[in-house]
Amino acid sequence: MKKLLLICVLISFMSCDKSDTIVEYEAIPIDFTIPSNFPALQYNLDNNPLTEAGFELGKQLFYEGKLSANNSIPCAFCHEQAFAFTHHGHTLSHGVNGGIGLRNAQPIQNLAYQSEFMWDGAATHLDLQPIIPLTSELEMDETLSNVIEKLKADEIYQDAFARAFEDGKINSENMLKALSQFMIVMVSSNSKYDKYVRQEENVQLSQIETDGLNFFENKCASCHATDLFTDQSYRNNGLPVNPMLDDKGRFNIFENQDDLYKFKVPSLRNIEKTYPYMHDGRLSTLEAVLDFYDAGAVDNGNVDPILLRADGSYGISLTAYEKESIIAFLKTLTDNEFLQDERFSEY
């Protein structure tokens, strides 16, 4: 009897000890609702259920320099919140050792509603997208196993992975899942336009914004479709080819001539903040973008037929007032709640 008591006491001591030092999986789910004006979710959350700890780990990794070769270029380096997670005015992304990437950093928002990523659709799953910048010599220049080794050596991550995942393992699967959780929660759906279409808080568009919306629907919405403002297709919009970069766009994926100079139709959410524009950031203002569509497109051999005008030229004819009002409308897509959301902020 005494022996039994002793054993019991020992066990209880041991278990106390354990709970003091071992961090355990915390499956506190994140409430994730799809905005009523959004299309269907593309990401399968059953494979990666959102939890508070998973999201927090993803955020920590997003701001973690160790994901790069010189330990100083986190994802956030090119994806800054105030600019809807783009690279504050840079035409092309910068990376380790002064490397300069080949394309303009795209915003990180509403990605769970898309099935392909990057300007050319090179990433076909959100989980796997981070591998591209992480391994690019011009961006983070790292390898998955090296990053995993660095994280394994860090006590903060030992605990964070243990909290975030049932198996608690620090491996590429869990690292990428955490990053996805962070990105999935990054939803921009509370712009003035959103509140207007959802008829919330009595939000009304001004006359010029309404005119802009009407012009937009007639002249832009066949490609910038749905309330994501992209039909997620790849198109050649007649942008003159920059011979310095000679970026062939989607052609690089399948080496298919039909894909020459095609790039993914970008979302226009927070477009006011994500300047400069186009895949190489060559246009710095929205005025320049609309002037390009009006009179700057060239026949580079594979321009989208949707842009062919009656006179045989390519473009979208726009009057001065159409341009002015479309820009006024585009600014209603700025979502300050998202741009200032502390859940996504580094500090």
């Binding site: 090179a122 390898t143 699967e173 399948f254």
Partner: protein, 266 residues
């Protein structure tokens, strides 16, 4: 008379032995029992063992030498004599076969653990990664993404695995030692180069808690170029990456390169 007595005894004993062994088979209850199975991948070219840097001839007079030879095997399943299929657990069911990791005999061993005890008659596996696994993203990959990347089997310019990677040089009657690179996989959902093969076992593979059979899978690398659709390096098959015409031809040829040469029931 004596002879016939002996013969009778012999016949009786044979029938008893065969009866009893039949009985054994029928009554052997393997439910819940597990064992291991070893797959030995042994790359060859025709009737030669594959060796890095050795020149091999193609049917059209071209020749090639390789310094990298790797491919991904996944979705291994086994069919037993009763018609049941044993699927290896999905999360662990993806393997890199890298010639550089071979033992002295050039064999790359894959050990399957916790296989249901049974008498297996054939094996099926996929070459590459199927669309279902791609659709799950990082889910279920464990550390395979790291392993694949370290082996150069993960693209960096796009997300996806190289299902097969052959690097080396080729020569024809007009060129000598030109670069030869076959780096191909599926591209998104629109170009699916995953293929499944089923190979019969020459005799039953007996998995038991006390028996770890070894299945010797031989490949004929020449089939990749000289298979059902022979291809010429000089026609562009010296660089095969994402081309929607070239890659399925290589994938289909590759399907035919495997055979189970023999089985050891240890």
């Amino acid at each position: 008379m004596k002879i016939s007595k002996i013969a009778l005894v012999l016949m009786l004993s044979i029938s008893i032995i065969s009866c009893s062994s039949d009985d054994d088979n029928n009554t052997e209850d393997l439910t819940g029992q597990k064992g291991q199975l070893v797959l030995k991948f042994d790359n060859g070219v025709g009737d030669q063992d594959f060796i890095f840097g050795t020149s091999y001839n193609k049917s059209n007079g071209e020749s090639y030498k390789l310094d990298q030879l790797k491919y991904i095997i996944s979705n291994v399943s086994l069919l037993d004599s009763e018609g049941n299929t044993f699927e290896y657990p999905t999360e662990d069911n993806v393997f890199l076969v890298d010639e550089a990791n071979g033992n002295n005999a050039g064999e790359i061993w894959i050990t399957l653990d916790n296989v249901d005890a049974a008498d297996y008659t054939s094996i099926s596996f996929g070459v590459g990664i199927d669309q279902e696994r791609y659709l799950r993203g990082a889910d279920g990959q464990g550390d395979f993404l790291q392993i694949a990347q370290d082996a150069g089997m993960l693209w960096s310019w796009a997300t996806g695995f190289r299902f097969v990677r052959l690097d080396g040089v080729f020569s024809s009657d007009t060129v000598t030692d030109q670069a030869l690179n076959i780096h191909m996989g599926s591209v998104g959902t629109s170009l699916d180069n995953y293929r499944e093969v089923t190979l019969p076992f020459p005799n039953s593979v007996l998995v038991r808690p006390s028996m770890t059979p070894e299945v010797h899978v031989k490949t004929d690398i020449a089939t990749i170029f000289d298979g059902p659709t022979p291809v010429n390096f000089m026609d562009g098959y010296d660089q095969v990456h994402t081309d929607p015409i070239e890659t399925p031809i290589i994938a289909n040829n590759m399907m035919e390169m495997f055979e189970v040469h023999h089985v050891h029931n240890n």
